[in-house]
């Protein structure tokens, strides 16, 4: 049902059924400067009154030639560029890239580094999902109040990142075989305190949002994503689980040391905007559980495998490593010809693939719904356009 989109040059002439009032269709381009398209993203929407008849997403405004650059860079050099893919979760991007290279080069990662990586990834998941709830509400019109509560919590976690890696968002923290800097004990103490307080913030956010009748009316039965379409379009992450498909790479691949932690994977049933929002809230509660266990039994020991960073060579061959990033399955397909530079470097960006089915979810809905549906897809333009 995703037929190739050819736009007739003459614009859209909808032939109304006989007798129906032939209203002019308005062709609105919700352009790159639209206040709530999460970055530079354009949608050519054909409106019949308020209803959406056709919607064509236009990508490419934030294309920075990331993959070609990586082929010019040595293996270490492209780690800081992965921070800029999904600039909301730089730690997960680093981990995905390092994970792919380690699989290719067969590097063994010490215990402590694995724990540190899980802690960082789960903290990024908390940031991402709480900010999504905030953005979704400001798209629905709640003028930023939940967003600023989410940012208040995000600041605490970004302080933790800054004190360990040096930068709040562009951490460039992980290296092949482990992490760049060890985590001190009082850093762990601060992290435990922040994680202790997170459920209190989640309860406050839920009290503000979940029972809100206006939001229920705005999000329930809106932008429904059926299971089959989600699977066919290879949607991954919370969007897929909201439609009821049980597929979480942390449980499927059991990469890193996720098999040591007991956590559950929440599933929605209808697959509308409300499910996507609430599944993410439940995922945050699971992440808090993982963090508590990881912070409790992080062992002592080396934090990196002592891999020599300069002229680091990867044996020839290709490989695909993937992790469960907050937005979905973030994969790196790397081809190495044995030299210090990757021969081919491709990023499987979850936001890009989750966005292809935007039109199917938006058809028949109102203009206001398009924005809320786009908000629930949770895209970041850096990752979509690379």
């Amino acid at each position: 049902m995703i037929q190739p989109f050819t736009t007739p040059e003459s614009g859209y002439t909808l032939i109304p059924k006989e007798g129906a009032i032939e209203t002019q269709t308005i062709e609105v381009s919700m352009g790159p400067h639209h206040p709530s398209t999460h970055g530079v993203f354009r949608m050519d929407v054909v409106l019949d009154g308020e209803e959406v008849k056709r919607l064509k997403p236009v990508f490419g405004y934030l294309h920075r030639n990331h993959e070609q650059l990586a082929e010019k860079m040595n293996w270490l050099g492209s780690i800081p560029f992965t921070d800029r893919l999904d600039y909301f979760c730089s730690m997960s991007n680093n981990w995905a890239y390092c994970h792919a290279v380690e699989q290719l080069a067969g590097i063994k990662v010490p215990e402590r580094a694995e724990y540190i990586r899980v802690i960082m990834a789960e903290l990024t998941r908390l940031i991402n999902h709480s900010c999504l709830a905030g953005f979704l509400l400001s798209d629905a019109g709640a003028w930023g109040t939940p967003l600023l509560y989410a940012f208040r919590e995000r600041e605490k976690i970004l302080d933790l990142f800054e004190s360990v890696s040096g930068a709040r968002m562009m951490c460039n923290y992980m290296r092949f075989g482990g992490v760049r800097a060890d985590v001190s004990d009082d850093w762990l103490a601060c992290a435990r305190k922040v994680v202790e307080n997170y459920p209190r913030f989640l309860d406050e956010l839920e009290a503000l949002i979940t029972g809100n009748e206006i939001l229920l009316a705005r999000t329930q039965q809106v932008g429904i994503l059926p299971r089959e379409l989600a699977i066919n379009a290879s949607v991954t992450g919370p969007m897929l689980r909201a439609s009821g498909v049980d597929y979480d790479i942390r449980k499927v691949d059991r990469y890193g040391i996720y098999d040591r932690f007991d956590f559950r994977v929440p599933l929605g049933e209808v697959g509308d905007v409300y499910d996507r929002y609430y599944v993410r809230i439940l995922e945050m509660r699971e992440s808090v559980k993982i963090l508590q266990q990881a912070l409790r039994d992080i062992p002592e020991g080396p934090f990196d495998a002592g891999v020599k960073m300069r002229n680091f060579k990867v044996p020839a061959g290709d490989g695909y490593g993937r992790i469960e990033a907050p937005k979905g399955e973030l994969g790196f397909y790397l081809v190495s010809d044995g030299g210090t530079r990757p021969y081919r470097y491709h990023v499987r960006a979850p936001s890009f693939i989750n966005l292809t089915i935007l039109e199917d979810m938006c058809l028949g809905h109102k203009v206001a719904d398009v924005i809320v549906i786009l908000g629930s897809v949770d895209i970041v333009r850096g990752e979509v356009d690379r």
């Binding site: 007798g19 129906a20 009032i21 032939e22």
Partner: protein
């Protein structure tokens, strides 16, 4: 001082303008607007008569005007709804074009 005659002349002038509009213009909506003008002109003269009447406590003109306004509003609503229905079938609302009485 403004006598009753001034008001009646003004009301009839407005009535005539409305009549002229209703007769000459081809567009159905403008015809409806002119009918509205005629209604208002009538209301104006009624209230003028009440204002200059010897025993105003009967409030005759005012009551006429109030009922006139409500009826004119109802008429405008139905009239414009009819115009939309006509437009739907004939794709144009030229007054001359509506010859056939077919449903």
């Amino acid at each position: 001082m403004t006598t009753l005659a001034h008001f009646q002349i003004l009301a009839s002038l407005l009535f005539v303008i409305g009549l002229f509009g209703a007769v000459t213009r081809r567009n159905a909506i403008v015809v409806l607007l002119s009918i509205e003008i005629m209604f208002n002109a009538a209301n104006l003269s009624l209230v003028a008569f009440w204002r200059y009447s010897p025993h105003p406590e009967q409030l005759s003109g005012v009551m006429f005007a109030i009922f006139g306004i409500t009826i004119a509003a109802a008429e405008a609503a139905v009239g414009l709804a009819l115009v939309i229905v006509i437009y739907r079938y004939y794709k144009s609302i030229e007054v001359d074009g509506m010859r056939s009485l077919k449903g």
